[in-house]
């Protein structure tokens, strides 16, 4: 299992996960009025009599940017583990939302994962499986770290012949 700690594999997973999140944010950022309708259909953040419309509207406006910023950080490597933790948190939330609509029998018609218009992917078991796979990737980036080059101590003797 040493390959799991290989830097190239670690970077590949991190960049791949980041690319998925950046791609997922594009359509939602470009068409917020379509995305907010999908958020409404989940009935988790509202609109309801108690919550009103503001939480769902704010979620629809902010969530795509959390995805986008998280994706960029995963790709660039800046604050990579924190970004991966945030990606994991989002995926747990998505899993809870999809499980909820499946449990309640709510037909959201369009999961709002990568596109927001036209014929979209529904919320079903295949979506849960792909979210679990992405969650595994996020946890890997958080937990597993590739071995770094051993720091050279000032007290270490110089190699022979130098």
């Amino acid at each position: 299992m040493r390959w799991l700690r290989h830097p190239a594999f670690y970077w590949l997973v991190s960049i791949g996960l980041g690319a998925v999140f950046v791609y997922a944010s594009f359509a939602k950022i470009a068409h917020p009025q379509d995305f907010v309708r999908i958020v409404y259909r989940y009935r988790l953040a509202g609109p309801t009599a108690g919550l009103g419309v503001v939480p769902a509207n704010v979620l629809a406006v902010v969530l795509p940017w959390i995805e986008g910023v998280t994706g960029v950080l995963l790709i660039t490597g800046l604050w990579r583990r924190e970004a991966a933790a945030l990606a994991g948190g989002m995926l747990v939330t998505f899993l809870a939302a999809v499980s909820y609509v499946l449990w309640q029998g709510i037909d959201v018609a369009h999961c709002g994962c990568f596109t927001v218009g036209g014929e979209g992917r529904g919320a079903g078991w295949a979506l849960i499986a792909s979210d679990l796979a992405l969650l595994g990737a996020a946890l890997y980036v958080v937990v597993v770290r590739p071995p770094e080059a051993a720091p050279v101590s000032a007290s270490d003797p110089l190699p022979a012949g130098r």
């Binding site: 068409h31 609109p47 419309v53 959390i66 986008g68 998280t70 583990r81 924190e82 945030l86």
Partner: protein, 151 residues
């Protein structure tokens, strides 16, 4: 090295600022305090106002899928499901054109069908308003419902 929560909070704050700025400045955004289903020309009334209109003879239209209508509906309402609009509209068009007060409702909170049906009616020259928050608002208020397939 442990995760730094402050970084996670910073990412969230940065995304929130970007999202709110984009919504306000891009020209693609929407009002955060308003139901996104509402468009220019849409008129909504609350359940008490709708009840008053029902008592005064308003025609109610059920925009939900027909199976929901057949389970229960507002007394006197006619089915006009958004997913089968053209066929259902043709059946009841004379009745619609002779009604001056039409209220459309659907399943409430995540449902846009009533707004879509009201807009389609307006495009055909038939004014219609929407019951805000739809069926749940009506039943939560304890107003009468009728079970069964016929109005």
């Amino acid at each position: 090295m442990p995760l730094r929560p402050l970084r996670i909070v910073s990412i969230l704050a940065c995304a929130a600022v970007l999202g709110l700025c984009w919504n306000g400045l891009s020209g693609r955004g929407f009002a955060l305090t308003q139901n996104a289903y509402l468009q220019e020309g849409d008129v909504e009334v609350g359940a008490p106002e709708a009840r008053t209109r029902l008592d005064q003879g308003a025609l109610f239209l059920d925009a939900r899928p027909i199976a929901f209508y057949e389970m229960s509906h507002i007394p006197g309402a006619l089915p006009l499901p958004e997913d089968d609009f053209d066929r259902s509209f043709a059946k009841i068009e004379p009745r619609l054109r002779s009604s001056f007060d039409i209220v459309v409702y659907c399943s409430g909170f995540g449902c846009e069908a009533s707004h879509l049906v009201a807009r389609k009616l307006r495009e055909r020259g038939i004014p219609a308003i929407v019951l805000a928050e739809g069926w749940p608002a009506w039943t939560d208020a304890g107003y009468p419902v009728k079970e069964g397939p016929r109005p």
